[in-house]
Structures are given as C-alpha cells and as structure tokens.
Symmetry: C2
Subunit: 201 residues, 2 copies
C-alpha cells in the first residue's frame, strides 16, 4: 500500500496517524490529505497543540490523572471530599465520571486491569500507591468504578482483598438496565442483575 | 461533553483531532489520551511529522498533485508518457491509481466535482488549466478517472464537452463487476453496465 510519489514526509505522517485508535491505514491517508489541504486551519494548529500538550501535561503523582498541574485539579481541589475515593482503570474512565458530574470525591487510576491473557499482573498496576493512600487515613469509602468486564471484575476482587483488611467501606457501581436502554437488547447477565437488585417504587 | 479537569490544552487537542475524517468526539478523546500516554514514541514524532509535512509539501502547479518537489514527481518523471493524461477528482484518487500501478501517463487533479447541491460550479474547479494543458499540445488521450457517482459523471460530461472540440481522444474507466465482487451484492446499474459491456472469452 505504498504511495511512492508522495514522498517520505507524507508516508511518515500516514504511518503515525494510523497508530491512533480508530484510524486504519486508509482513513489515516484520508486524514493526512485533509491535514495537508487545511494547512493553516488544521495542520499547523494540531502540530502546535500536540507540542504544547506534550510539554505541559503531566501524570498526577497522587492519583494518576493527567493534568497540567501537579497534583492534578481534582487532588488539589479543597471542595472535593477526601474521604471518598473512586478507583478507575484508566484516565478515560475518570473523565467519563467527571463529565457525568456524579462523584465529588477523589480518584485513583490503576492504569489498566489484571489480565492473565495479556500478561498484566499486579506489579504493572498502581496498587501499591492505592494501599498507601488508604493506609495514610482519611479515606472512609472506596468506590470501585471498574468496568463490568471479566478483567474489570477480576481487578475489583483483587482491590477488595487488598483494601477490606484496612477497615474502610468498599462499594462498587450498581449493575442494571442502562438509562434509555431497552430490555429486548440486554444480555441475560444484565437482566438478572437488574432483577436481583430491584427496588420499591 | 466538557472534561473540565483536563485543562484547555487537552480540550484543544481533542477538538482538533475530532475534525479529522474518521474521528468523532469520543474517538478523538481516546486518540488524545493515547497520544499523551505515548509522549516519546507517538506524540512528539507526530508533532514533528506534521510540522515537517506542513513545511515541505506543496501543490504541484502543473497537475495539482501534492509533493515535496515542484513540479511533482509524476510531472517531472521523463519515463512517464506525456501523451496520456488522467483527470481525477482528488489527490486521493491519484494515489489510489498510483498504488494500483496501472497508469504510466500524467494526471490532472480537478479538486472536486461539480455539484449543484453543494454550490460547486465550474469556477471552483481546475478546468481552465486542464484546457490549457491540452491546448498546449502533446496530449493524445484524456482518460476520465472520475468516480462513478452522479457528481463524478456530471463532471465527466462537462470535461468531455470542454475537451472533445480540441481534437484529442477522451475515454473513461470501464464500468463492471469489481474483481472479487459477488453478483448477488451488486446494484442493478453495475450489473446492467457489466452486461452491456460483456466481452468474448
């Protein structure tokens, strides 16, 4: 799939773009073409935004969030409840919860899930810092905001085993029918969970 | 869909990435996160590749191709047949034909198609330069390598009317069953074209 005419500069750009999630080789080529055509309005601003993001964005040493300040905006915010901590797999999950604006405590980003298949053991994830934060005191409840996947739930049980001896409450997000979801399209596991946790109206 | 914590730098990066074809707001956020995580191996090389592409890539003043040299590699190549010219809508189409390596003539990129719906008339496309190149002599055959869409075929007829008075042969790509295609999945128009243009085995 070489484009022999277009020079190594375009090929290099296409090759790097195709490593972004959601872009294959063909869409990366289309994206490169759009970028080159919109040099002033898209290519140059994107190059500048990448350069700046790479320069100013750091990993928060406390929770693992990404931000321009260290500690991050969540950890530094005195209005947030330091006695609540939500454990998430990834910064994307932290962002999703912040967009929903339902949680006013602090976070702990594990950096992934345990996965025997992908060879990710406890050493590769941010468990040590989590235990230290809980041991340091002040945390009353740890909410496990992990994905409802096999890996996510395996990780949730592992975190549960680590933290419950420390005398803090450990909770997890509820399972059930997604808001706006139709029963007809839901799997048996979700329906069973929703039935088991049914509530009085 | 604001991510209020992540700072204006990340938001700006997500917003620019979401303008690339193939990336929506959600996938742009995932892409930004991957970029920030892979700062040394992906973000910085991409920023550099964008900067370099923006600096060195030019539009060929002869045919409209994109390349680092002016005239472009195709126009400058003496081994290519200057008596054959293929008219295409877009640089992406030129690249597709070059990947197939079936055409050894030169190109003319129109920069789009005529479209009453989108308000694109003959003034917005590169027709003037096309007529001049053909009038300058040396061109024996013009191949219309335009898409088999309504707009593409409207444009093909317009080019035909412009060029046929100049005394050069005008051809178009064959319509028919795509190689590897199954009849069951083809539309009536393609099947009718394939039948009408059937050939002895």
């Amino acid at each position: 799939m070489a484009a022999p005419l277009s020079g190594p500069e375009i090929e290099r750009l296409v090759q790097l773009l195709s490593r972004l999630p959601g872009l294959g080789p063909r869409s990366a080529r289309r994206a490169a073409l759009v970028l080159i055509k919109k040099k002033e309005t898209l290519l140059q601003p994107l190059a500048a935004a990448l350069e700046e993001a790479g320069r100013v964005i750091k990993v928060c040493g406390t929770c693992g969030n990404l931000d321009t300040s260290e500690p991050c905006g969540v950890c530094a915010d005195p209005r947030r409840d330091a006695s609540l901590m939500c454990v998430v797999e990834d910064v994307a999950d932290l962002w999703a919860l912040e967009r929903a604006a339902v949680f006013r405590g602090r976070y702990h980003v594990l950096g992934g899930t345990l996965s025997a298949l992908d060879g990710r053991g406890p050493d590769q994830l941010n468990f040590g810092a989590l235990v230290e934060r809980v041991k340091a005191g002040g945390v009353r409840e740890v909410v496990l905001g992990l994905n409802a996947t096999v890996e996510g739930q395996t990780t949730a049980h592992y975190v549960m085993d680590l933290i419950s001896p420390l005398g803090v409450a450990v909770t997890r997000l509820a399972h059930g029918v997604p808001v706006g979801g139709e029963l007809d399209y839901l799997d048996e596991g979700t329906l069973a969970a929703a039935f088991a946790a049914r509530r009085a109206m």
